[in-house]
């Protein structure tokens, strides 16, 4: 029986309770390998491909296309030829009998926490109880701590993983000071002090990448490692139409067109994601915060904080991960980095590698942690 391996509904983010099977990309009888995209799943927030957790031949599909089941429910079964159909039947029957449907539906929402810091209240989501320097996930412009759905749980298996809301974002204090990267870096530092973290593996996306690097430059020795995902700060160029459209567009169709610039495959942008951006922008203080960042970090339509000349001053290992199809910050910024900086460029990926190619990004981050 141990040769039989289940494929279950994954948990993408703490708010996910159930998912819908949109399309199987592999069928009964197909041999799949671990990490291969085998089916598309839709949650209330997002649509994405699920990578097979196992290698082997698909022997049974339990949930057909269109079916909606809780996290952890059996979707399909992999097993070698040598396992008989009867054994597969027994395995599926046993799984279904032992699966607690009610508990699975209810066991869903972990609550973010808050830290009081000198720059105001910072909201964060903590997962994992492992030992060693924790992993700190820092989102980009307009994002929040919920944006690491495909990463945080996996990373938290190895280290405590904290995803934070930068000032001006999510549930954190809306004052962003002068709206510069330096201010955000000081805020991140204040957060680490408040929760008692001295050293951490910093993972920053876009604006959050610049913030992570700025923190290490201003407080050397904070970072065990730095993983920069499509980071700001490595060149002058930025797609200011994205920033301005994000701030000004409200109608779903128009805001969607702006958000589609983030990804290579525009079908990744769901109506819920678009509406969530509108909801964020309506929170008291959000509009002022975004405008302050626009006028601080990106004034004159250029990146005002640059650190490519100072990369050599960082003693912690640094890697840069970029999507070839990035339409917000050009992948060319990754080209002239000094030796010793690890570089991973992903084809057919836009500005959201941690979402669009989560498995590879998680592996890269973990290579610095393990």
């Amino acid at each position: 029986m141990s040769e039989i391996r289940p494929i279950v509904m994954p948990k993408w983010g703490l708010a996910m309770a159930e998912g819908k099977v949109l399309e199987w990309q592999a069928g009964v009888g197909d041999v799949v390998s671990e990490g291969q995209e085998i089916l598309d799943i839709e949650t209330s927030k997002i649509v994405n491909s699920h990578e097979s957790p196992v290698s082997g031949k698909i022997r049974r599909i339990v949930v057909d296309e269109g079916g909606t089941v809780p996290v952890g429910a059996l979707l399909g079964v992999c097993a070698p030829e040598t396992v008989s159909d009867a054994e597969i039947e027994d395995y599926v029957a046993e799984f279904l009998e032992n699966f607690d449907w009610e508990a699975a539906s209810e066991d869903s929402v972990a609550e973010p926490e808050f830290a009081d810091t000198p720059v105001g209240r910072i909201r964060y989501l903590r997962q994992g109880n492992g030992e060693g320097a924790p992993i700190i996930l820092v989102h980009g412009f307009g994002g929040d701590c919920m944006g690491w759905s495909f990463n945080q749980s996996e990373l938290a298996e190895f280290r405590p993983a904290y995803a934070i809301d930068l000032p001006g974002h999510g549930g954190s204090e809306k004052n962003v000071g002068d709206g510069t990267v330096s201010y955000l870096a000081r805020s991140l530092s204040a957060f680490l002090d408040a929760v008692g973290i001295r050293r951490a593996h910093l993972v920053g996306h876009s604006l959050g990448g610049a913030v992570s690097a700025a923190l290490e430059l201003e407080s050397p020795g904070t970072a065990e490692s730095i993983s920069l995902i499509a980071p700001a700060g490595l060149g002058e160029d930025i797609n200011i139409d994205f920033i301005d459209g994000f701030i000004s567009q409200r109608r779903m169709r128009k805001l969607r067109a702006v958000l589609e610039m983030l990804v290579a495959d525009s079908s990744l942008i769901t109506d819920t994601m678009v509406e969530d951006v509108n909801k964020f922008k309506r929170l008291e203080g959000s509009a002022e915060a975004l405008a302050a960042l626009r006028n601080g970090a990106f004034s004159e339509c250029r990146q005002q904080f640059r650190f490519e000349e100072r990369l050599g001053a960082i003693s912690a290992p640094v890697q840069v991960i970029w999507g070839r199809q990035d339409r917000i910050l050009p992948v060319a910024h990754a080209e002239s980095l000094p030796d010793g900086i690890r570089r991973l460029v992903l084809e057919d990926v836009g500005h959201m590698p941690h979402m669009e190619s989560a498995g590879e990004v998680n592996d890269a981050i973990l290579s610095f942690v393990r």
């Binding site: 779903m252 909801k279 929170l283």
Partner: protein, 337 residues
């Protein structure tokens, strides 16, 4: 994001504004549980339960039970507003508004104009409207078109709990008199509502669905029916844009005209009686401004020109249905080029 009912979303909006600004007071019949009457204080939190818990937190000075005299307390609220408070008055049923028309139409709505802009009237009147509650003809009307007609009043029709909180906070912060319409069958509806304070601007329509084949413009409770119809039609390959104007005054004409022109086929859904309602108003607006973009005549889905019946089966017939919206869209999609 936490899930809250329409009722609790309104309660939270009131509470957060009362915490933020001590000029905000609330008044209405039994909103604290019956001042001067025997029995438990805060027993009811209003006939709708929306103000539950506010009297214990803010005291009798700011949470005022009023006599059953709508003309008295609506007049009182209008007067308090011009003297610098920010009252939120709860007038149980919009059907009772008749006895305070002078206070609303002639006084509150006109102060800013008559005093050359030197007076402001930051007054909110919350009220319950609509059919579906077996409450008969004197407690079931959709009288928002009457108030939309009056310059100087703002008129708000929230369609779900998220909208209710953001629009109520905006209403309280607005310096003009605002009529805030709560559909009585929506109070127990639930949705994700942020704990944080947020506002939704007036005069900015919400496009809840985006499609190519037809545009459905719906008001208040009807937005949910329009969304349901759009989702059913979408499964059949007909894609529909749904527009919730949110406020009938000010009205987001730009979004209405833009979405009407995009599809060229329009259905307007308004629970009010058919004459001089929002459906006729929106139809005229579209005909006047983008007639050349229309591929088919505009369809209006409304209640009939008759009082709301007390008989449950007749009342059910009275209220516009999802199926009627679907059928109207299908009829239009068969026309034009």
């Amino acid at each position: 994001m936490p899930t809250k009912s329409f009722r609790d979303a309104l309660n939270e909006g009131l509470r957060q504004e009362m915490e933020r600004d001590d000029r905000v007071i609330i008044m209405g019949e039994d909103i604290a549980g019956g001042m001067g009457a025997p029995g438990e204080d805060d027993a009811w939190g209003g006939p709708l339960g929306v103000t539950k818990g506010l009297m214990p937190q803010f005291g009798r000075e700011r949470v005022l039970d009023t006599p059953i005299s709508e003309s008295a307390f609506i007049g009182c609220a209008a007067g308090a507003a011009v003297t610098g408070l920010r009252p939120v008055a709860e007038l149980m049923f919009v059907d009772f508004m008749g006895v305070c028309f002078d206070q609303i139409f002639n006084q509150a709505a006109k102060f800013r104009y008559m005093f050359g802009g030197k007076a402001t009237t930051p007054l909110v009147i919350r009220t319950m409207y609509g059919a579906g509650f077996r409450a008969a003809s004197q407690h079931s009307q959709c009288l928002y078109p009457l108030f939309t007609h009056i310059p100087g009043l703002k008129v708000v029709l929230p369609s779900n709990p998220y909208e209710a909180k953001g629009l109520l906070i905006q209403a309280i912060r607005d310096d003009d008199p605002v009529m805030f319409f709560e559909h009585k069958v929506l109070y127990d509806d639930e949705a994700d509502v942020p704990d944080e304070i947020y506002t939704i601007p007036f005069g900015e329509a919400n496009v809840t669905r985006e499609g190519d084949d037809a545009t459905v413009i719906a008001f208040g409770r009807m937005v949910n029916l329009a969304n349901e119809a759009a989702d059913k039609l979408g499964a059949a390959g007909i894609t529909v844009t749904v527009v919730d104007p949110r406020t009938t005054s000010p009205l987001d004409k730009e979004t209405i005209l833009e979405t009407a022109s995009e599809t060229g086929r329009v259905v307007v859904v308004d629970e009010a009686h058919p004459r001089c309602n929002l459906a006729t108003d929106i139809s005229a607006l579209i005909c006047e401004n983008c007639f050349d973009d229309m591929k088919a005549p505009i369809k209006q889905i409304t209640g009939p020109h008759a009082p709301v019946p007390f008989s449950p089966s007749l009342e059910d017939l009275y209220i516009p249905k999802v199926e009627a919206i679907e059928a109207a869209v299908r009829e239009l999609v068969g026309k034009g080029h």
